[in-house]
Symmetry: C2
């Protein structure tokens, strides 16, 4: 006998995760506080958007929970799974992007989501997806190793092949084809996950969600006081342009949100507060900036 997936338990977990992450980020910042907007969506569902702006450590941190329902999955969700076309759905998730002020502190992103697609007289199709990935402006091998070790630990109880599989998927997903660069040093990415059954798959989702702060906060603490100047700031703003390019051109979550009539301000809170583009700019050979491209913005085995 197959039990229906426990949608309510997932929702409770996600709401708690949002609370827990916001509390930790706020306590790491000496100054900033999250502001919350609760919103409803005309077509069904709503969310809790929380944004911390102009903090001492975090220039902007957005941590969103949303639970939306719809009569028909949008194209971004069915492109790879045409059998789901026309199904009603529920999508719920926590999505966060943290843009620190100090260029030596990397930007981080995490997403934890649950989908269920329903059709009268048929069993619901459900799956989990998510992961977390790190985008440094200046590379530190020690940080990259720490980030990936925590990612591996999150996956370990599900078998040794899980981390390498989702690590590779992350490298492949967060890739800017038009730049031939990864977005950052990756981490974990998974989607369409139901192969372990609901209970074990949901446990995995929780493991990923629960490991995010362990992965990120030690890096923030290590780098937040490093002195920096105009040069590092300019490079940070320049590299943030790649973040915008990825999110608006490639990111499935962003496209899903915009196509499904999501709340634009909540979706686009992933975009950095200040960004530069500079035509045909290249780092000076041998510089720390050049080392980011050569040593960090391509898939590597970090462990």
């Amino acid at each position: 006998m197959t039990l229906a997936p426990d949608t309510l338990a997932v929702k409770h977990y996600l709401v708690d995760l949002q609370d827990q992450i916001c509390a930790a980020i706020e306590s790491e910042d000496d100054d900033g506080a999250f502001r919350e907007d609760r919103w409803d969506r005309e077509q069904g569902g709503g969310g809790r958007t929380r944004v911390l702006q102009a903090g001492a450590v975090f220039e902007q941190a957005g941590v969103n929970f949303s639970h939306v329902t719809g009569g028909e999955l949008p194209p971004s969700a069915t492109a790879a799974r045409p059998e789901l076309e026309g199904r009603a759905y529920q999508a719920m998730g926590v999505s966060l992007v943290i843009h620190p002020r100090n260029p030596y502190v990397p930007t981080s992103h995490a997403n934890i989501r649950f989908f269920i697609a329903e059709k009268p007289d048929e069993a619901p199709v459900w799956w989990f997806g998510g992961g977390f990935d790190l985008t440094p402006y200046y590379g530190f091998e020690e940080d990259a190793r720490h980030w990936h070790r925590v990612a591996r630990a999150a996956c370990a109880p599900w078998g040794d092949e899980v981390y390498p599989r989702y690590k590779a998927w992350c490298d492949e997903y967060f890739f800017l084809k038009h730049r031939a660069e990864t977005r950052g040093i990756g981490g974990l990415f998974f989607d369409d996950l139901n192969e372990w059954g609901f209970v074990r798959s949901f446990e995995f989702l929780r493991s990923v969600g629960d490991h995010y702060l362990d992965a990120y906060l030690p890096i923030v603490q290590r780098r937040r006081h490093l002195p920096h100047g105009e040069r590092e700031r300019r490079f940070q703003l320049y590299r943030r342009g790649r973040y915008v390019e990825f999110n608006l051109v490639y990111d499935r979550g962003t496209l899903f949100g915009l196509q499904s009539g999501g709340r634009t301000e909540s979706i686009l809170m992933s975009l950095p507060p200040l960004v530069r583009w500079e035509y045909n700019w290249h780092p000076a050979p041998g510089s720390e900036e050049a080392r980011l491209y050569s040593d960090f913005l391509r898939p590597r085995d970090w462990i």
Copy 2:
């Protein structure tokens, strides 16, 4: 008897147009000069990218000519015309985006392009496309009227219905669905144009290209000395975010360029040099900023 389209004449016109526009922009700026990069594309063709950076009047001006050839039209070009799938093609055009420094001077964009899709033993399919549109940060009805009067004059010899048709197409095309805003006050947009035959269609293309400077420069001259402060600058940087959103999420030219393996730095020179995003920002009711949204960022009859 149908003559083959005179591809070489189009190319000569486009190269001359680039020269003429660059000379005029440079002479309007007291300080800046265009830098040229010539480039070749592995898959065929190349271009002349010209960018003026950090000028006195223009914070960035990009005026590109490109002529690319390919074995197969990319999806962005055949989505609406599946009969052209798999055809070899040539695409040539001039594309420009001017980002002024003073927030009272609008950003302008123009594009003039020619496509020819070929298949052995069949007649080539060719068409022109292009137009120009204006994106103000602060609205001046007088400027909007001038811009649209010049647009109408460019179309007049082809019949009274041409300006209204291409004006409406422009409003529809430069629309940010996720914001329910037009990008600016529009202008002209046309595509798939071959209905007047090659000679008359090419004349129309030239008329649009030749009217761009008449439409834009008087507005630049009228507004470039207006005093402004931090508030206007912040609003300009914020509104530039919409420009980025449009170009990366919706613009067919950008997607065509990125998908067809175009030169990324030339394609993305349309992005502004400095941009802000601010979560859930809204203009104060009754302010000049609010008036931009209420009076300018929706389709209007400007003449």
